[in-house]
């Protein structure tokens, strides 16, 4: 009701006589007429900015994402079991070459059987032998997930080659021969007994493979074959040199593929032509592979003495769980040396954020002081200071960074005092601080030019205020809004510059123990985009999110602090 009256009163074109009479009431005798006090609280500058910011949905979302990324960077290194392993065993953080280039594994996708992001990989063009090797794997975890497709390809009329399209679990690395101390061995035996899997099918320790004695007997066989061929007058490829070559290569193959527990033979044609690089699985009369496990008195041998250590052959996946206490499943996969990308990316994100924010703060302070002096004093001081910033901003920071990086890494004394990680941080610090403050200085200078001639400054000066007081108490607070937003927009700039320079490899992170998103990208592009896209995908995602969110957040702040927009959206 009251509102209606108000609108009638404010509308001057309204015919007073047309106002309905029931809206009027008679003034009581003792009634006081006065303006009503504001029921709402006055909105301060900061509060208004907050309100305007809160209305900007995109900025809010961006701020939340930044917070989540920061949480990721803080929490993962604390919580992740990968970060809390024995430092003597993993001096440069966790790495396990057996799990190199493991693919990203997401338990949810695995449970839903979606076929992607579950640590499996589709391999095209596998031969029958590849398939058989995977099928014959004697570990507890079969590497073969499914045989997707069998392709019969006709290469010549009537001649077919069979290919398989297989889905392979990149975590089922099979059995590995490892050397352990006696204490470790006893612990493992105790663990197996406790689990009730000691010397069973599911045991961690598997029988050792004795390929050396097999190769010795195979050598006899080859020599015999050579003599047979010579007797028949067939000139095959089997010479003495060829035999030793075949055996050398086969020994290397057995060494590398420790999941093989059966006899392999060199590929041979009926005419005694042998191939030193192609092997076939040898089958017995029943079509079964011939095992070459090490036997002693009719029993499998599980351990071998090796210079005071014990050599055992273990299912590596299960051994890893026993040894490290967590399952070797990596959310973002691993890199070339088997380091967990999920925790490394968290550390890298933290590093990039810290560098971005830290350097921005330093730049902001330097720029503020420089711009304040230059803008406040003006005249010759301004002219000289402007020329200095001109020259400084003309030298790209990449030159300074390169020079710093080379100079510092070559300086053994400096390296020993602050460590090789410190050297990198120092190089970044100098390169980005060197010209990064120029932008802030320019903005501050403009703001000072704007405010220094205003009456309130004059008033304060008349009352005897000194320059520092005028600068810091009067002019600066007025310019604070503009300056803050410009400094927030500086953060993504620094993060971008840092990541692209370390991506290009201008700063070498390799031996420093430091990780940044850029260095992860560098690693990823070194590993090849074609073969290991996961190593590039996740760092790219994080850096993109960081850049987008900081820009949105900064723009939101700018709009929020811009008082001319006050009330424009209402």
């Amino acid at each position: 009701m009251e509102k209606e009256v108000m609108t009638f009163n404010t509308d001057s074109s309204m015919d007073i006589k047309a106002i309905p009479s029931e809206l009027f009431h008679k003034k009581e005798e003792n009634e006081n007429l006065h303006d009503q006090a504001f029921e709402t609280k006055p909105v301060s500058y900061l509060r208004g900015a907050m309100m305007r910011f809160a209305k900007n949905k995109a900025s809010i979302v961006a701020a939340i994402i930044i917070a989540l990324l920061a949480l990721y960077a803080i929490i993962v290194p604390i919580v992740s079991p990968v970060m809390h392993l024995d430092a003597t065993e993993h001096p440069n953080g966790f790495s396990d070459p057996n799990f190199m280039y493991a693919l990203p594994y997401n338990p949810i996708n695995k449970a839903l059987n979606l076929g992607w992001w579950d640590g499996t990989e589709v391999e095209n063009g596998c031969s029958a032998m590849d398939l058989e090797i995977l099928e014959l794997d004697d570990s507890n975890h079969s590497p073969l997930v499914e045989n997707i497709e069998t392709v019969n390809e006709q290469i010549l009329p009537g001649q077919f080659i069979t290919y398989y399209k297989l889905r392979v679990d990149s975590y089922a690395v099979g059995c590995k021969e490892i050397n352990v101390s006696e204490a470790e061995y006893n612990k493992l035996v105790a663990y197996e007994k406790e689990q009730g899997i000691y010397r069973t099918d599911k045991s961690i320790m598997k029988p050792l493979v004795d390929y050396k004695s097999y190769l010795a007997s195979y050598k006899e066989e080859l020599i015999q074959k050579r003599d047979e061929g010579a007797a028949l007058g067939v000139t095959g490829s089997l010479t003495d040199a060829m035999i030793s070559k075949i055996l050398d290569f086969m020994e290397g193959y057995y060494n590398q593929n420790q999941r093989i527990w059966y006899q392999l033979g060199s590929f041979e044609s009926p005419t005694y032509v042998f191939d030193d690089n192609t092997y076939v699985i040898r089958h017995d009369d029943n079509g079964k592979p011939v095992p070459i496990y090490e036997m002693k008195d009719g029993n499998y041998v599980y351990e071998r003495d090796n210079l005071g250590k014990i050599t055992i052959r273990v299912d590596y996946y299960d051994y890893f769980i026993f040894h490290n206490g967590f399952e070797p499943r990596f959310f973002f996969g691993t890199n070339s040396s088997g380091q967990d990308l999920f925790s490394r990316l968290a550390v890298g994100t933290g590093f990039s954020l810290l560098i971005g924010i830290g350097i921005s703060i330093i730049n902001f302070i330097i720029g503020l002081i420089w711009g304040a002096i230059s803008g406040y004093y003006g005249g010759t001081v301004d002219l000289i200071m402007e020329r200095v910033t001109d020259i400084i901003s003309c030298i790209p920071s990449i030159i300074i960074l390169t020079i710093c990086a080379i100079q510092f890494t070559g300086n053994a004394e400096l390296k020993s005092t602050i460590g090789s990680g410190g050297v990198i941080i120092l190089a970044f610090l100098i390169a980005f601080v060197y010209s990064g403050w120029v932008g802030t200085a320019g903005t501050t200078r403009m703001q000072f030019y704007r405010f220094k001639g205003q009456e309130y400054v004059l008033a304060s000066r008349t009352l005897g205020a000194k320059d520092p007081r005028l600068i810091f108490r009067h002019i600066l607070p007025n310019a604070a809004g503009t300056l803050t937003t410009s400094s927030v927009l500086m953060i993504p700039g620094v993060i971008f510059a840092e990541s692209s320079l370390s991506f290009l490899g201008i700063v070498n992170f390799a031996t420093s123990g430091l990780v940044s998103v850029g260095s992860l990208l560098n690693e990823g592009s070194g590993a090849g985009l074609k073969d290991n896209p996961h190593m590039l995908f996740f760092p790219s995602l994080v850096i993109s999110l960081l850049m987008i969110c900081f820009n949105l957040f900064g723009n939101g702040l700018r709009d929020a602090f811009n008082t001319t927009l006050r009330g424009s959206e209402d």
């Binding site: 001109d390 020259i391 003309c394 030298i395 790209p396 030159i399 300074i400 390169t402 020079i403 080379i406 100079q407 070559g410 320019g442 993504p492 971008f496 990541s499 692209s500 991506f503 290009l504 490899g505 201008i506 990208l521 592009s525 985009l529 074609k530 896209p533 590039l536 790219s540 850096i543 993109s544 850049m547 987008i548 820009n551 949105l552």
Partner: protein, 393 residues
């Protein structure tokens, strides 16, 4: 960002000179402009050209250019000095994986950069000269026309001159950047115009979001995406640029640099579109647009003849600035796609510690940057005579 800053500066200057130029130009000149635009283009151009050279302000402009060039020489000299000293102070270790250190050291001695010391046991030891003496020797070499005044490359190409190296790497970079410009300028401007005309419609909002994404996301991220999808997954185009042995103008080479050009285009297009949209929306609400419509022009005519031309005032210098920078390649894109360009050369010179090449290419980049700013500033006053660069108070 930089461009915008510059524009702001110019605006400031404009407002500082109320007595020299009419502040409210839009109304007064829109009549003339409306008439001007009805004349044949060539005649107008000829007249404008003649007027341009007769005008007193042209002489002012020439003076301004001269002043800027002088300043540039001074700035360049200072930067050169700083870089020269910093680079020459770097620990030079030519011994590592160098073909023949003795030959290189002798050349350094001949250039006055090293001192040869014969030790007691007869072996030669080479020590670097003090940097300021090296500087003196460098200028002596440069002005006396000695061979290889800019030093030698010892890693990238054994004992070749950095200038030759740069020259041989320029073609792919320039070629790539020209392709990028050919694609991105029309597309970017067209997108910007479209967005400005459809302002606050859903098309505008969608494009705005897309442009924000493209500008925020680092270029190497979409370079990876493009390379992975087109090059490896779908295998439509070669994922890497062809080697330098292929003729740069052959179709093979062109095909192989489509992907890098594509990845460079995204950022460019987004930049142009955003800028054009901002300028055009501002111009579209001007009073002279109303006048043009009142006069009977259709919306399309008014937009093309009046609004777009005026909005080009800040956009044209931006394009010009980009045109200057076609000489300097993008290091990131060139390294991802293995393009044998200037950016790649620069990166290699850094990673191989090939200092002379590094210094030469750095100076080249700085020179281009300085020239670019001058050209941009000068072009403002050529495009729009109302703007008088460097005008005093």
């Amino acid at each position: 960002m930089e461009q915008k800053q510059k524009k702001k500066d110019i605006e400031l200057e404009e407002t500082e000179l109320p007595e020299k130029k009419p502040l409210d130009v839009s109304n007064a000149s829109s009549d003339e402009m409306a008439l001007e635009s009805d004349r044949p283009f060539l005649e107008r151009f000829r007249k404008g050209f003649v007027n341009f050279w007769r005008n007193k302000s042209t002489i002012d402009l020439l003076k301004y250019i001269g002043k800027r060039l002088l300043l540039m020489v001074f700035t360049f000299a200072v930067i050169f000095l700083i870089c020269f000293i910093l680079v020459r102070l770097l620990p030079l270790d030519p011994g590592q994986s160098m073909k023949d250190p003795a030959v290189f050291n002798e050349m350094m001695v001949a250039q006055g950069r090293y001192v040869k010391i014969i030790k007691e046991d007869g072996t030669a030891d080479y020590q670097p000269m003090p940097v300021l003496m090296q500087l003196g020797n460098f200028f002596k070499n440069l002005f006396s026309g000695g061979d290889h005044p800019f030093g030698y490359s010892f890693k990238i190409e054994w004992l070749s001159s950095p200038a030759d190296l740069l020259g041989s790497h320029l073609t792919p970079t320039v070629l790539m950047n020209i392709y990028v410009m050919i694609v991105s300028v029309p597309v970017g401007l067209a997108l910007g115009i479209y967005m400005a005309l459809r302002k606050n419609h859903w098309e505008d909002h969608v494009l705005n979001v897309l442009i924000m994404l493209v500008i925020s996301v680092p270029s190497f991220v979409y370079a990876f995406v493009i390379q992975y999808l087109f090059g490896y997954v779908w295998q439509i185009l070669p994922p890497l640029a062809a080697s330098s042995s292929v003729n740069y103008f052959s179709p093979t080479y062109f095909r192989s640099i489509i992907l890098p050009v594509m990845s460079m285009c995204f950022g460019s297009i987004a930049g142009y579109a955003r800028y054009t949209r901002a300028e055009l929306t501002e111009v579209l609400t001007s009073d002279f647009m109303l006048l043009a419509r009142t006069k009977g022009l259709s919306r399309a005519q008014a937009t093309v003849r009046h609004a777009f031309r005026n909005s080009l005032v800040p956009i044209f210098p931006m394009i010009l600035g980009e045109f200057i920078s076609i000489l300097s390649g993008s290091m990131i894109i060139e390294s991802i796609f293995n393009v044998n360009g200037v950016g790649g050369l620069y990166l290699r010179s850094i990673n191989d510690r090939d200092y002379d090449v590094f210094q030469f290419v750095s100076m080249f980049y700085i020179l281009i940057g300085l020239l670019g700013t001058i050209v941009v500033d000068v072009s403002y006053s050529i495009v729009d005579p109302r703007i008088r660069m460097g005008g005093g108070k």
